[in-house]
Point group: C5
Chain length 103, copies 5
């Protein structure tokens, strides 16, 4: 999975019929040099600004009950907390907080 931030919505009236009813979100990679932007179908009710887990390829397609939706990226989790070694040592009050630490 990649870690993304939900940054927007996409509207497409003319689309493959099996995409009907899916919520298509604009997500941006949080990590890595590229910070690429993608469109992912939402499976968990994610909102703008939330950090999410995004899967790709045939795995994304399998997330939806129908099984044959033409979507190759899906949001499968909303990140509550992300704890890394780096955070623990150097960053105690930033946006990426240790689990259970309220700030």
């Amino acid at each position: 999975m990649i870690i993304c931030r939900v940054i927007g919505h996409v509207w497409a009236t003319k689309k493959e019929e099996r995409l009907e009813g899916l919520k298509l979100m604009v997500v941006q990679e949080e990590c890595g040099p590229g910070k690429k932007t993608y469109v992912a179908a939402d499976a968990v009710g994610a909102g703008i600004g939330e950090r999410v887990l995004v899967v790709s390829g045939s795995t994304a397609r399998g997330v939806f009950k129908q099984g044959d939706v033409p979507a190759d990226m899906a949001i499968v989790g909303i990140i509550d907390d992300l704890e890394t070694e780096k955070n623990r040592q150097a960053d105690s009050g930033g946006e990426v907080r240790p689990h259970g630490h309220s700030g």
Copy 2:
């Protein structure tokens, strides 16, 4: 999915027979540093200049009724509007407009 702009057509007389009848479009990534160019089979009647949603891999192959077309990228939607946090705050009359806002 990736967000692309349709920028052209490809003609190939000599090709795998199962590609026969597919409309092959040249698409260019809109987001990210690379802005790579690809060829995608069109499933929704997209035209030059339109912004579209493009899927890859086995998902693209599954878009076409035949099921076994040797195409690994497909246009599955034409983007009407793309609303992002960034647009809403900083960009009120640009090309990327909030949904339902006529400029």
Copy 3:
């Protein structure tokens, strides 16, 4: 699909037996910053110097009748013409010519 130029051949005596009989070509990406080089199995009789359409992954595997060849890239079309907006406006006699225009 990606747009590549065929730039060479590969010989491999010692190889997975199901690759036997496939013509393995060296192809180089035409578009994008990377211009990476790959090896693709040829399904359409492409020659050195030709511009071709290349598919990847399980789609490439499915191009060959046997169905289970261990090849993850395949040449599926020889490009006759590639017409883009950019070409039409700025480039009237270059290598990338409008369709049906003989130079």
Copy 4:
């Protein structure tokens, strides 16, 4: 597979139900210019700081008994030793040690 270092954990209360019970680790690529960060489901009991082998795509999905988990990256091995030509010649006491060499 790619070689990664485990650098953290991810907590996500709201997630696709089939991710329930999987341990989601933050991993960072060890090699290559990007050093991208991903989230992978752990199949071997890896700990923070360990170097691991990570698989992607449908291969990752197949690692878990259920078969249909919506995870497209999985940790499938903990690296004891990694011996390369470069190490053998130039690097005799560094972090990447020849196999069976205790330092």
Copy 5:
């Protein structure tokens, strides 16, 4: 396929049981700007220093008889010779030699 050089071995005692018995090699991309390093399961008896063909994804998994090995990269051929236009014109005695040319 990508063209890689075999540069080392990986040892992993703790690993997904279906990886047992596979020879895991460290391979480095020969072409392209990145020259990324990967780990691939060897299907052809490749040795350190050899140039090889590497497949990825579900294609790699299918190389092994068991069918369900959790490996997403496999070495499927040892390159004897690689002839490209560039070599033929400018490079007559280098490491990349025309086929059948003994130097």
